[in-house]
Amino acid sequence: MRILLAEDDPMLGDGLRAGLRQQGFQVDWVRDGLAAERELASGIYAAGVLDLGLPLKDGLDVLAQLRARGATTPVLVLTARDAVPERIRGLDLGADDYVIKPVDLHELGARLRALVRRAHGQAQDSLRWGGVVLEPAARHVSWNGAPVALSMREFDLLHALMRNAGRVLTREQLEQQLYSWGHEVESNAIEVHVHHLRRKLPPELIQTVRGVGYTVPREREAT
């Protein structure tokens, strides 16, 4: 899952980025409001973590503009401003969650997963397709009860596809979901990962739409 982190404090930003990476998130870090707005509007992020006291443009303004422009990326506001009116304003302006600093990194990760899940209309944490169960929090995949060992990228790819079950994701979209800034993407990386996934899981799980991309078909009724 690719997350945008907007935090101007160097030490906190560094810590949050490292902590979220440890939990398997792809994290891009921006340090001012204008960059945060630009990146969040791009639509390539599964969710955003937004500090409010950002230089150049306040977090709440970023949020308001983003929502005014119709961007639906879930945004978690992470701030030291704990006054209730501030929180209400933040939520009213389109924040999907509001967390006061300091925050437990695991809680932050769980809240981000919940945000993304809700954004895709899911109530449960785990994703299912046939006998395949994907648990984002534990980063664990099983097939008919047996654990399946996946690399980090393989897991992220499967997660992105299962999260968007029924939709076709292009190779570019998948690359954007999988790789944060500063990572070289080899030209056939996605194909290689899909190939590996098909070997480890039921082959009909990931289907190729020729010339467009890949999809996990919507789950058949009563599996």
Binding site: M11, G15, A18, G19, Q22, G53, P55, A80, D82
Partner: protein, 452 residues
């Protein structure tokens, strides 16, 4: 205007107006009475002399034959007037009321006498020119007083009737006149405790405008203070929580690093740096709190250049680590009368700021001089400097110019300003003429500089 004091403006105004009206009216009545009495006396005395003259003329030559004939009473007013005519000491003619004794002493002119029956008379005595004729014409003074009383009554009665009416009208008028005051107090009463917006009343009388203006100015000041406090609390929360959040996050990253030894090491170092930063912040906050509680103070003059040397020596290792150059130009002695610890904090904050916000390899120059008995400290750097807007906001607690990569508390400037204030110095910000970055000038005037 509080109700509890029981001191009603309305009652006071009303009492004043009614009291004044009564006094004026009574004064008018008194003058009318005096005037009327004077005129009446003149008129009636005139009548007495006229009557006496008539009698003198009439009696000449006719007196021997007739002996004291009673003159008939021909008018209801007659019993109040009387006359006597004596010829060679003998009473020859008199009115019914007049006794047989002469009403007054012999002679000419007016007299007021009390007769045996107790009545008081105004008598005019006249003497005939050729024969020995003595004439007395009298009038009861009671009748004069009755006329005066009637005059006075006609003046005073309207007052007695008008006073309650006037009171009623005055009460209404005063109440109506004070309506804007009542309206103001109602507007204020209806306000919630947090409503600090200015009072706006239409049709405000001129007399009340200064009051409302002063009130609004006060409200504005209070709102400003509250806003500053609110911002301080919000900023303090932000500034205190951010380093703690960073420490927590970094510690958690270190815990979860697993086999990533380099990552763990980095996170632990960041944790330590975060602790240093939190410590620095707490120290700055405490310094500021102590300073804000401190009144303006005085101390023995001390040599600032000596102190500057020490502070720069303390900061030198940090500067060296970033290949920054620290320079001190001191024209010794540069004396300032302020407590040494405060001046040290001021110097440290200024130099630390200059170092912090200048790039690696930058130059920070501290200059001390004595200009016409004033002590002047200048800290210059060749960093990026500040925009005018930032210069103005500098010194607000927790304010940091945007886009800072350096971790700072945002309190250094507040501390510097406060120390300058309590030690009687002025601070100027500008562009360093030679180095091109920010130049901060602190100037202690002669009194604070202790140059004497």
């Amino acid at each position: 205007m509080t109700r509890s004091s029981g001191h009603s403006l309305q009652a006071r105004l009303l009492a004043l107006v009614l009291g004044l009206a009564t006094v004026v009216w009574l004064g008018a009545a008194l003058m009318t009475w005096r005037d009327a009495r004077h005129e009446l006396d003149e008129l009636l005395d005139g009548h007495l002399t006229q009557a006496a003259a008539l009698l003198v003329v009439q009696q000449t030559g006719e007196l021997e034959e007739e002996e004291h004939v009673d003159a008939p009473s021909i008018h209801k007013y007659a019993p109040r007037v009387a006359f006597q005519v004596f010829h060679e000491g003998r009473l020859v003619l008199h009115s019914a009321q007049a006794g047989v004794k002469p009403m007054a002493q012999l002679g000419n002119g007016f007299a007021t006498v009390r007769l045996e029956d107790g009545t008081e008379w105004r008598v005019f005595a006249a003497r005939g020119a050729q024969r020995d004729v003595q004439i007395y014409v009298g009038e009861q003074t009671a009748s004069r007083r009755a006329i005066l009383r009637a005059v006075l009554r006609s003046v005073l009665w309207p007052l007695v009737i008008a006073l309650p009416l006037l009171a009623l009208a005055g009460w209404w008028a005063v109440r109506r006149g004070l309506a804007p005051l009542r309206q103001l107090s109602q507007v204020l009463e209806r306000r919630g405790p947090e409503a600090l917006q200015p009072v706006t009343l239409t049709d405000l009388p001129v007399e009340m405008q200064p009051l409302v203006r002063a009130l609004n100015a006060l409200l504005e000041r209070i709102a400003g203070l509250l806003e500053a406090e609110r911002r301080f609390t919000a900023d303090a929360a932000h500034e205190l929580r951010t380093p703690i959040a960073a420490i927590r996050a970094q510690a958690q990253v270190a815990l979860g690093a697993g086999e990533d030894a380099a990552g763990r090491r980095h996170a632990l170092q960041a944790t330590l740096a975060g602790c240093d930063r939190a410590t620095h912040l707490v120290e700055q906050l405490l310094t500021l709190a102590r300073l804000e509680a401190a009144p303006a103070l005085s101390a023995l003059p001390l040599d600032l250049s000596e102190l500057a040397r020490r502070v720069l020596a303390e900061l030198a290792p940090t500067a060296l680590a970033r290949r920054q150059h620290l320079e001190l130009e001191a024209a010794s002695p540069c004396r300032v009368a302020a407590p040494e610890p405060l001046l040290a904090v001021l110097l440290r904050n200024l130099v630390d700021n200059a170092m912090r916000y200048s790039p690696d390899g930058a130059t920070v120059r501290v200059r001390l001089s004595q200009q016409e008995a004033a002590a002047v400290l200048t800290v210059e750097d060749n960093g990026p400097g500040l925009t005018t807007a930032d210069m103005q906001r500098l010194g607000e607690r927790f304010y940091r110019p945007p886009g800072q990569s350096q971790a700072g508390s945002g309190l250094g400037w507040s501390i510097v300003r406060r120390i300058a204030q309590v030690s009687g110095a002025q601070i100027e910000l500008g562009r360093a003429p030679q180095l091109g970055g920010l130049a901060v000038t602190v100037r202690w005037p002669a009194a604070a500089a202790g140059a004497g």
